[in-house]
């Protein structure tokens, strides 16, 4: 069954048409005030294929997927599921049609266990409405076993890593018997190893006869796993192509309308004296030493790339630098100021800017306007406020500048931030932090969720900021990004910097060895 499906899709759309496609969109249009998010979309997803959806930030990918899952309704057009026209007016209806979706921003109940999250809404009944938790845990355990690395059904979702959370999301769909799976940017939050694992899982799902639609920005990833690719631009379908017949250049050109290429950005790096100094910082959390006497310094006019597998202390280091946690021992200096115990505001005033890894938790307030979000954190500075009163005009002007300067696609500056697509929210945060004229910029996964064009643009901005004297601490699980930008690379492992090399001398394989702890540890960090 599996191989058959592969063959069918391998031969392209005309072959696939013989069986009713799993999903067919005909002339689907969705408008928001001021934007046509989806414009006459025709899309055909064959049964049993992995179908990728690509396009720039704001092209309308998430909107289209939300319509398939009943979270949004089309204004025009119709959707056919397995050949039958359907009105998908709620997720409940989508679940009935065996369609499942993993959202760009996860939808998990943090306080619930893995098992509770998975069975919610379709719980096993012990009789009389009693929740059969043992049965739930047993079934979840069973599902998880046939699907990659083990997952503890009793663990609370808030205590597990992102990669695992994503598997919980996928298991949620499988538990409900979904056979059309929609994954909105599943790879954005994963480290490379986890991406590999996800792709293995996707291939396995396909072998089990499932249909998968997924969105991704990395074209290498898309080409690696997809059977067919549909390109969206400005809400319209540009084309659907077989992955075997295309390459990254061609797809990128279709996405953007002109050739683009992600490449190392060259600048003139002449690192100066130390700007950020971290000395022997220790932080314990949950009885475990998450930062174990970490030393680090970032110089003026330098991009310091911090590489590492997620969960080795990066998050805690950032929190200690930004002022969200106070380390038990050690010191933090910015320029000449000691900031070890300073609060966030003092640090920001001292010249620190921070691009957080989770824009929803830390970067912005979704319910607030685009304009308000553009000055969040600097609102008490001139010209945005004077004597405690906000200057709304100045704030709006800044928002307009950011939107222009960072090519944020926004309906208007008075739209709520949630009306922006995921990538455009990210761009707004980036613009705001760059604009605060920092001495030190802490950038945690700055290009997460950005399209190639925007990624290239942000890289350029980071390099320009460096050339102007800013010290940049770049934290990224994407080694390509680190290698493309960093003047110096440090590897964090188990709460310590275990290796330091010059950016130009670093190689993927070497860093990989340090990241997984296969090498390094106690020898003196070089460079």
């Amino acid at each position: 069954m599996a191989t058959e499906a592969t063959e069918v899709t391998g031969d392209g759309p005309s072959e696939a048409r013989r069986r009713s496609p799993a999903i067919e969109c005909r002339g689907v249009t969705r408008r928001y005030a001021g934007v046509v998010a989806n414009d006459q979309i025709d899309l055909e997803v064959a049964e049993g294929e992995i179908h990728a959806l690509v396009g720039e930030n704001g092209a309308g990918k998430s909107t289209l997927m939300k319509m398939l899952y009943g979270l949004e309704q089309p204004d025009e057009g119709e959707i056919l599921v397995r050949g039958e026209p359907q009105v998908i007016d709620s997720p409940r209806k989508a679940i009935e049609l065996r369609i499942g979706m993993v959202h760009q921003h996860f939808m998990l109940v943090d306080a619930f266990t893995v098992a509770e999250n998975i069975v919610l809404g379709a719980e096993p009944d012990k009789g009389g409405g009693r929740l059969d938790l043992e049965e739930a845990e047993r079934r979840v355990g069973e599902l998880a076993r046939g699907f990659g690395t083990p997952l503890d059904p009793h663990a609370r979702v808030e205590d597990i890593g992102v990669g695992q959370q994503q598997r919980v999301e996928i298991l949620k769909l499988l538990y409900r018997g979904a056979d059309i799976l929609i994954l909105d940017e599943p790879t954005a939050v994963l480290v490379p190893q986890e991406v590999e694992e996800l792709f293995d899982n996707m291939r396995q799902l396909k072998a089990d006869g499932k249909t998968i639609i997924f969105i991704a920005h990395s074209l290498d990833e898309v080409l690696q796993v997809a059977d067919r690719i549909t390109v969206l631009r400005d809400g319209k379908v540009i084309d659907t192509v077989a992955a075997a017949d295309t390459d990254t250049h061609q797809v990128a050109e279709m996405m953007v309308g002109r050739p683009v290429l992600l490449r190392r950005v060259e600048g003139k790096a002449t690192p100066g004296g130390p700007m950020l100094q971290v000395k022997d910082v220790r932080v314990t959390a949950g009885g475990k030493e998450v930062l174990a006497g970490l030393d680090l310094d970032v110089r003026r006019s330098e991009i310091y790339g911090l590489a590492g597998v997620e969960g080795n202390g990066q998050a805690e280091l950032v929190e200690a630098l930004v002022g969200l946690t106070i380390p038990e021992t050690g010191r933090v200096y910015l320029d000449d100021d000691e900031l070890t115990r300073a609060d966030v505001r003092t640090r920001r005033q001292a010249g620190l800017a921070y691009i957080p890894e989770d824009r929803h938790a830390r970067g912005m307030v979704l319910q607030m306007l685009v304009s308000e979000n553009s000055v969040l954190g600097v609102q008490e500075r001139a010209p945005f406020s004077r004597r405690g009163l906000l200057d709304l005009k100045a704030i709006r002007r800044r928002a307009v500048e950011l939107i222009r300067g960072f090519r944020v696609k926004a309906p208007s500056v008075t739209a709520p931030a949630y009306a922006l697509s995921g990538g455009n929210q990210q761009k707004l945060v980036l613009g705001r932090e760059f604009a605060s004229k920092p001495k030190l910029l802490i950038a945690a996964h700055p290009t997460r969720g950005l399209d190639i064009g925007a990624t290239q643009f942000v890289w350029q901005e980071l390099v320009e900021a460096r050339d102007e004297g800013v010290a940049v601490l770049l934290i990224s699980s994407n080694l390509e990004e680190i290698l493309a930008l960093a003047d110096r690379v440090g590897v964090i492992y188990d709460g310590r910097i275990v290796a330091q090399v010059r950016g130009s001398e670093a190689t993927m394989s070497e860093l990989g060895l340090y990241m997984t702890g296969a090498r390094g540890g106690d020898e003196e960090p070089a460079a």
């Binding site: 939808m107 619930f112 809404g121 009693r130």
Partner: protein, 301 residues
């Protein structure tokens, strides 16, 4: 035994604390349901007041059991207003709750004038037969009933499908909705159950504890219940301990007499203890994540 210990922990004090425990705990249980479903209900106090009035009135007409049921019905009816405001029309939960508390100041007086010809008090009403608890004297049959309801609430919240869905609506309504849980329905259930408990708590006060309705008899117990809810970390079990503490301090206002402590201070003990305890524990508890947030199906935030 030294006098002070008798005052603090004597059987009379404990017996009185148990009497005070019942309405507080019932109201807190109600609060657990509405908050876990995502709705803030500071109107609990008002709902209790309606319970006291309608409880007494029902007991006068049809006897104590029917009185308690009338109180429950009154609480549910007032809760329906809160549900309509917060769930259907997405009014701010606090605003709606305050409105209900204000309503509870004026309405009962008006009702009393209509029913009893005077505004502040009802005639004596019949109570349920008392039971004799060893060492603790005569207690209302509502004491064991309350304990059972506490267990019941705990069971429903943690061991049933309904409970899981209700909690999901209070923690992450968008996630719940995306799995086909009817968030609004869950929140309605939470609010109505809350009203029922608050009404019952009020009914106990007028029918069982005092034997008549008197204006102001609730003495802000609904607000102490809100504090107990927080201190009890939104769990029926935790709330039991919190309510025992508050009920005990309430009993002390009657039994504690110390020369060198001003009696006015002792009278305000329940409120002072509430404040202090909340200030000390507020950071250690964990409220439902989405409590107080309006929710609209398919909304982007």
């Amino acid at each position: 035994m030294p006098e002070i210990l008798v005052q603090l922990f004597g059987l009379a004090t404990i017996a009185s604390a148990i009497r005070a425990f019942v309405p507080l705990y019932l109201a807190t249980l109600g609060g657990v349901f509405n908050e876990r479903s995502g709705i803030v209900n500071i109107g609990i106090d008002g709902m209790m007041i309606f319970g006291t009035w309608f409880g007494a009135w029902g007991a006068l007409q049809w006897g104590p059991v029917a009185g308690l049921l009338t109180a429950v019905a009154a609480g549910v009816a007032v809760a329906a207003i809160h549900g309509m405001a917060t769930i259907t029309f997405r009014v701010d939960h606090i605003v709606s709750g305050v409105a209900i508390n204000i309503l509870a100041i004026g309405m009962p007086r008006f009702l009393s004038i209509v029913a009893y010809g005077q505004g502040t008090q009802s005639p004596q009403v019949p109570s349920l037969p008392k039971i004799d608890l060893p060492g603790l004297g005569e207690q209302s049959i509502m004491v064991p009933v309350t304990v059972l309801l506490g267990f019941g609430a705990w069971f429903v919240l943690t061991r049933t499908i309904f409970g899981l869905r209700l909690r999901s609506a209070g923690e992450n309504p968008r996630a719940a909705e995306s799995l086909g849980v009817r968030v609004r329905g869950q929140r309605w259930a939470g609010v109505l159950i809350s009203g029922g408990f608050a009404g019952l708590a009020g009914g106990y006060l007028s029918i069982e504890l005092v034997g008549l309705y008197r204006e102001g008899m609730n003495q802000g117990r609904g607000f102490i219940a809100l504090a107990a809810l927080i201190l009890g970390n939104w769990s029926p079990i935790g709330a039991a301990f919190a309510c025992l503490l508050f009920a005990w301090t309430e009993a002390l206002t009657v039994f504690l007499r110390v020369d060198w402590i001003n009696n006015a201070f002792i009278q305000s003990l329940p409120y002072i203890v509430t404040l202090v305890v909340l200030a000390l524990f507020f950071r250690r508890v964990r409220p439902p994540k989405a409590v107080g947030q309006a929710y609209e199906a398919g909304s982007p935030v």
